[in-house]
Symmetry: C3
Subunit: 490 residues, 3 copies
């Protein structure tokens, strides 16, 4: 590091105390928000006499719903899964796991607030339940996916504010999709994965306009960091069935588990196969294995609970695995070169394209869904297809009492709405991402210089720094370590 | 690496594109198999009107069975547990976790197919359920155990085909044991652990005949890789009670959880104790800690649900812990020297001997099982011991309605059948393993040269390779790094 | 290492075989204890005819309680969470995870025995149930916390005996608090966290009297070890809601989950904020992030099930996050300097102060608890507040049938008892810790020299040792590696 650069670094650093104080204020605002809005949901509220009387439970206390299991699986996916998946960079592992931790902890509270505002009751209260915690965890996935596109190129303050803005837009978009367009997206492949990926890519585009992305000596893995990243990959792969089925129930939920397992298994095999075919010397490439193996989980998401049959789940997973590896190999370099969009983790290949594929597959499956293959649960899965006439409804309810009045949509109409929701999601993600990118370039959020990119030393008090500053051989030592002995330096 | 070796390497590599294409074909065959065979089980099928009507559920959708929790625990054991347990080698961590991932994803589909074929219905359909997914995960453990014996000495294509053959034989052997011999093996210690271990050792024997195993400079851990391996060890240790109890129910299941926890805790303590006694300077040896601590989980497996009392569980676990460490210290070197069987992970000590011990202990417990200590659940746990006469059955069913007609076996007969199943399992494992070993030596599966053993560079595009090939000092640098600074090289 | 020191080392090592044999004897004693005492609880016992008849289950076997999920979450916290959290030291990672494993496996059996003795039945039997396994896991947390204060400065035999003594005292103290003082401590913040921390600090004080703590060249992290430690941190953070709610039921349990999630999220954000404010260059410090982010889980523990409202949970978590970081930055150095108490992991800041805070907050919440906000569940949560008169009880039981007769305590009295329990816990912890420290200084447990501190080589047969002993450059090589290339050596 030359003297000028070091000077510039310490200039930037003066912002950090302001950042710390800003974090304090953010948590303060969240406290105010919770104070103004939230109370416990009835099932968690001791004031609720039903919990005490509970004749319906034969006088026993209610049992913790098994949903909590799925919630904890998703919980592990968000913090361990996403966090360790991003530790693949040689000198950015502490930031990957650490900033996922910080950003996640802030945003889970923001997501609860956003969800509370949407579901606010007439008395101005919103209610906190296990279901709400689950929704919040799923929402947090979207900004963490966007973070993947920007990894190593932002200050943490940029990430935090990006996440806050993104969650507000996410909530609006999901509301439009679920409540206005009445589409199905069981595993949130459109609302979380596609949304998060294209939002993040739009932000990265704005960053790239100012400064063309170029090769960076720290933008690569070390032998150990690739193994750390596999902790994230494998936990994501294992718990994806829980992610896609967590908000469903009954046979729908069990089907989502089976479909997701099949799809993600097929995408794993196909990602390995394609990696061996397209890589140098026909070996496997760790980047593909860490990411594309998971594409099947995204691609089945929208249709996870639908009757796509085992073969359908395997087929869409296989396709996603191939598509994702091909994206890493051929598309990402083109996008970086021609569109100046740098995508550190390749979220376009893991979340973007497979998310769009999920939306298309969901529309296809919705377009062929019939009473024949779903019986009356058709109207529970696609509520807008339920009849609007009370006469027809009453007949159905004789057999199946969980149906509300719908809008008499045909299969084709439902498919069209599914496609519309996909387009709306992509449009909102890209536009809001571009605007957010411009906002994040404001000086108050700070920025990372080319030299500071992908380097933990920007965010963390590292032990070695102390050592290095004591020795006059600092410059040479550091350079040599990075070039010849990537791990030796660490 | 000398020039000739490098040439040989690039020769071998030309096979890799064929391997990639073979993987595509394998997934294609799996798709065809699923297309021909599978549909959703009733509880996951929307066509099934019962899910809609569900009067028996008061009109509520069925709740996800808590079995899913156990399933996810087993899921973590297979991919995180086995995967990371095998990362202990200095330069084979990426292969350990990566190939576990690939092989697991292929074989879980193969296991579902095998299970489907066994349980096929008259209309030619097989049904996919959560229970089926659980069985498939457990089945996959067998080939992953065999892989432990061969780790670092095969191409991935050899592993994949070994796994496919092994799963077919495994399914046949388990069918013989469970349905023909009607024996109990709750935690699959005979059918999975002993079977997988002796199958793998037989394959390794065939490999060793051609090329005598010798010391290899990469066959050892690094400081970091030993810690990575502990991730696998500890997750296996924690979730073993779920593995042994997942296929049981009622008091039987809770007993299996308690017995397994006690047994595996005792084996952990005894493995540490024995390691301190037999190791150099009386320190602990990481290999023992990573593996022998788990032997109690295997050893209690067959009898996990039986009334062996807390003291029985502790005793068998203690014995297994000692046996396993002694195996590592004294038996493995002898087996390698005299039988030419090289056992990379020491599966003989973790799965082989403890699996046999489990079979013997299971036979003992079956031999002393009586109506006195089991009441009528005796006939649920040992179905062959149930009376064949309807009169006696009717009497039992007054109190206990989950009994089918059996074969009036005595305790002694049941014990003999348990021993027979153990012998059959060992016999089938060894014979089929030898045959499989011969098949895998066919050139179409490729092979690993002595020089390529235990080296990730065979399977993975490594970042450092690019660096190294640019420099003329490659040979020296590499050698020095390995000898003096094992981790510095990585 | 000079020749004298090496000699001294080999002297110490001769104790090790005695240690190994001692471990054998400990497991032997445990077997005797279990033999004398334990049988399966009714729900896990096949002898129990109710499991067979089970009319109350419509003839179906009982389903595994969802508690098992929470149990497994806690299980992961204890061994993966605590184990990896302590791997942060550069050269003590194998001991951190390995000794957690050993000590945990011994102590979980000791905890079961202690619990069995407390709950022994008239016929001299104690019963093993899933609930008992859960309690044992929670009890094991206390000595593992104490181990955090002593990490790197003891032999494993010292840790094992410390743990055994501590668990006996822990059981007594918890009995006093729960059964005699009848206080509430849902997440065991007083009984486990505060107790474990102050017990460990008292032991460390005794150690420091003999030998003043000084700076040690191995007492610091490496780049990789800091990432390993984050595995522990994040799993602890994720599963803390399970820890605090595992022993509760009904709305109380769901409230504890929600409160804990909010508190620990707030403490995570505040720990980052405070770390950025107090650290050099206003960067984050890994020690704070690994530990103080969890302080909110401790601080809400006592009141986790109380009606502290979402805002209360956030506020106490925020406060704990700040307090903990401030403790690391300013208090720990003072305590080390003036009180000679060396605290390797800073348990005073993660478990000590937040535990006391939890006790105070619990007293406050108990002091404002009323029938208005809890309805009749007030008497289930605070059993001592229930009326003693049968007339009043009968009236309550019309609505709420899970109430036993109490002692008519007022809110203020309950608060006073909560404070008393906190003081008793601190007093017992410190006094018994001091005595234990004196016992552990007896030569039979061995000791660690200044030179051996924080070094895995004391406990483990390390691969590199073999290398190093072959070369005459051992001394220089080792020193250089540690000073200039901390990781290069590993």
């Amino acid at each position: 590091m030359k003297r000028e650069q070091r000077f510039e670094t310490s200039m930037k650093m003066t912002n950090h105390i302001a950042y710390g104080i800003t974090l304090l204020f953010i948590e303060g605002f969240l406290l105010c928000g919770f104070l103004a809005t939230f109370d416990y949901a009835p099932e968690a509220n001791a004031e609720n006499k039903e919990n005490s009387i509970s004749e319906h439970l034969n006088g026993k206390p209610s049992i913790l719903p098994v949903t909590y299991t799925l919630y904890q699986d998703v919980h592990v996916m968000i913090w361990i899964g996403f966090g360790f998946l991003m530790t693949f960079l040689r000198r950015y592992g502490q930031s990957a796991i650490g900033l996922t931790f910080l950003v996640g902890a802030i945003l889970v509270q923001v997501a609860l607030l956003c969800d509370g505002v949407v579901h606010i009751k007439e008395n101005g209260e919103a209610l906190l339940s296990l279901q709400g915690l689950l929704s919040a965890d799923i929402a947090v996935a979207a900004p963490l996916i966007s973070m993947g596109a920007l990894l190593g190129k932002t200050t943490y303050m940029q990430l935090v504010f990006m996440g806050i803005i993104e969650l507000i837009v996410y909530t609006a978009n999901k509301y439009i999709g679920e409540h206005l367009l009445m589409v199905v997206d069981a595993g949130d492949s459109m609302f979380v994965h596609a949304f998060g990926a294209y939002f993040g890519l739009a932000v990265s585009f704005v960053f790239g306009v100012r400064e063309k992305p170029k090769e960076h000596h720290l933008e690569g893995p070390s032998y150990q960091s690739d193994i750390f990243a596999m902790i994230g990959t494998v936990f994501l792969w294992l718990f994806w069935p829980s992610f896609n089925s967590a908000s469903l129930e009954g046979d729908n939920q069990q089907r989502a588990i089976i479909n997701t397992l099949l799809s993600i298994s097929a995408s794993c095999v196909m990602a390995f196969a394609t990696s061996a075919i397209v890589s140098k010397d026909n070996k496997f490439n760790m980047v593909h294995i860490q990411n594309s193996t998971l594409a099947g989980g995204v691609a089945i998401g929208t249709a996870a609970g639908m009757m796509c049959r085992p073969i359908g789940a395997l087929a869409i997973g296989s396709l996603a695995g191939v598509l994702s590896v091909v994206g890493y190999k051929f598309l990402t370099p083109l996008i970086q070169k021609h569109l100046r969009i740098h995508d550190t983790c390749g979220v376009h290949n893991l979340h973007g394209m497979p998310g769009v594929l999920a939306g298309l597959f969901g529309a296809l499956m919705a377009g062929i869904a019939s009473e024949e293959s779903y019986y009356y649960s058709l109207y529970a899965i696609f509520p807008a297809r339920a009849p609007s006439s009370e006469a027809k409804l009453a007949e159905i309810r004789d057999d199946y009492n969980r149906i509300s009045a719908g809008f008499d949509r045909t299969a084709g109409e439902q498919a069209a709405y599914q496609l519309l929701a996909l387009l709306v999601t992509l449009g909102i993600a890209i536009v809001s991402g571009l605007i957010t990118g411009l906002i994040l370039r404001m000086t108050m959020f700070g920025s990372i210089t080319e030299d500071q990119k992908f380097d933990d030393a920007v965010h963390w008090e590292l032990e070695e720094e102390a050592h290095e500053q004591d020795t006059s051989k600092h410059v040479e030592g550091s350079t040599r370590a990075n070039d010849q002995l990537p791990m030796g330096h660490m």
